[in-house]
């Protein structure tokens, strides 16, 4: 085995992720001891505890890991592609557009007959945002126009989501605006995971093969071109990969922001600033951060009804402000 320069970092992050995953399994609305859970996990017949473990806790913990990894990875890829440290699926409107797609698929009743319409519509929403963004923001990766374009896309998608939910004849739909804007892993099931799995696999694969191209792109478009990197192909992989994976997770968790912003920044110095080396650590660290946030939500208790996105925003928004201030200093 060749020695990877980031092997220690990846191993440490993975160990933290596993520890957080196991911790997440132990926490829930019901007070169950570790012994009870272990016994139920390996029980041959179904008991109430084994159903709680396999049908409620495992899907939630898995979804946390998958969602966090997707957001971390896509954040790292988008920051490399747009050559902008503030790019992130939440901030540039990809997540809220994915939400809009999912909302249309669910509340029109389409998903009842075609379950795969859910991730497909979310992918479509996310892809539209990802294609529109560079067109609106213009090339050269200017920070200000990128953020403005992202805010505009987010606002439109959020407004249309609210509109769609308010127009639904179901009286509960309007209350669910909160879920789509702030996100939650509450009471999701294995079925959700099965439906999004193919989209996640394809999305991750596309995102992971952008590494080399992103490295070349960091030296400038022309240099990348002379190095034999096909920019249209690189853009295609990054945008479709983001749309597929972020679309899929958003379709079942709602919009969860800031994970994709924070994680690549925390790791960039550790991997020497190379976009390719940032990808895998960002995915694992994203999984850690999101699982940690969900554990905190669970510790608040089921009666609090706290949404996951509230927590990530409380941590993420100040970080975002700090980044803006840092960027401004660099400009002056």
């Amino acid at each position: 085995m060749t020695k990877h320069p980031d092997a220690p970092l990846i191993v440490i992050l993975s160990l933290i992720a596993i520890a957080l995953f196991l911790t997440s399994l132990m926490i829930g609305a019901a007070d169950l001891s570790i012994a009870q859970l272990i016994e139920a996990a390996f029980a041959s017949e179904k008991t109430p505890v084994s159903i709680v473990f396999w049908e409620i806790r495992v899907p939630r913990a898995l979804l946390g890991v998958i969602t966090g990894a997707t957001l971390g990875l896509s954040g790292a890829v988008l920051q490399g592609l747009l050559r902008n440290p503030l790019a992130e699926p939440g901030l540039i409107g990809v997540s809220s557009s994915a939400s809009l797609g999912a909302v249309i698929a669910i509340y029109t009743g389409l998903t009842i007959t075609m379950p795969y319409a859910l991730p497909a519509f979310a992918l479509l929403g996310a892809a539209i945002a990802a294609v529109l963004l560079p067109m609106l923001a213009g090339g050269r990766g200017q920070t200000l126009t990128l953020i403005l374009a992202g805010v505009a896309i987010s606002s439109i998608a959020t407004a249309l989501t609210s509109l769609a939910l308010n127009l639904s004849p179901n009286p509960f739909a309007a209350m669910e605006i909160v879920f789509w804007m702030l996100g939650s892993l509450n009471d999701r099931s294995m079925q959700h995971l099965y439906i999004i799995a193919p989209f996640i696999v394809v999305g991750w694969a596309l995102l992971l093969i952008t590494g080399k191209g992103l490295n070349a792109l960091s030296l400038g478009e022309e240099t990348a071109h002379t190095m034999g990197v096909s920019l249209p192909r690189l853009r295609f992989c990054a945008i479709v990969g983001t749309a597929a994976s972020v679309g899929a997770v958003t379709a079942v968790t709602g919009t969860i922001g800031f994970i994709g912003l924070i994680v690549p920044h925390l790791l960039r110095k550790m991997v020497g600033g190379e976009p390719q080396r940032l990808l895998i650590p960002s995915a694992i660290a994203g999984a850690c951060l999101l699982t940690l946030a969900d554990i905190t939500v669970k510790l608040f208790g089921p009666q609090s009804n706290l949404k996951l996105g509230v927590l990530t925003a409380i941590v993420g928004a100040p970080f975002f402000l700090w980044l803006i201030i840092k960027q401004r200093r660099a400009l002056i």
């Binding site: 829930g28 609305a29 019901a30 179904k46 109430p48 505890v49 159903i51 709680v52 049908e55 409620i56 669910i106 509340y107 029109t108 009743g109 998903t111 009842i112 639904s168 004849p169 179901n170 009286p171 509960f172 739909a173 209350m175 669910e176 879920f179 009471d187 099931s189 294995m190 079925q191 089921p302 009666q303």
Partner: protein, 199 residues
Amino acid sequence: MNPDLVIAGTYTNQTTVQMLRGLGITVVQVPPVRTIPDIARELRRLGKVLGQEQKTEALASRFETTVQRFVEAQPDEKARAGVYYANGYTAGDGSLVNELITTAGLQNIANNLGLKGTSKLPLELLILEDPQLLVEGTQFSDKPALAFELLAHPALKRTLGNSGRVLVEDKYTICGLPFVAEAIEKLANQSKRLGARAE
């Protein structure tokens, strides 16, 4: 319209009630009915007010006999039933649906958990109570909402199997009238079925 009598709820605006009484109109206030004995009692009271005591007495006593029949038919070993509404709400002691369930010879798991009235019940806690029967309410719309997705959660499906659900329409759980006997009968049939399977 100059009415002789106005029947109002106990939650009707008190100013309106006072004003009507000030005008010399008889106002009878009827509380929301939350127990089975209340149904017969309120019926008799209204009969007295309306001068239709014979009719309401007949209705009330027929209802009481029906209820008595259900109470006598209750099994010793009571099957576990849980109420589960949209967004994970359940109903326990102090709700009409709880009265229907217990009269039908089932035990309401909300009471085992100490939940009173309508309160939130996390899915995990519901599953751990191992319900044999899930009492559901009317879905207000055929258009989907996430609020109802919870009722299709695989954890519930695995706990209840294919036949462990019963619909008790909202009209039975909101309006406390003698026709709730229909809902009790529906529940009692489930109770009988579950009891027969246990033996």
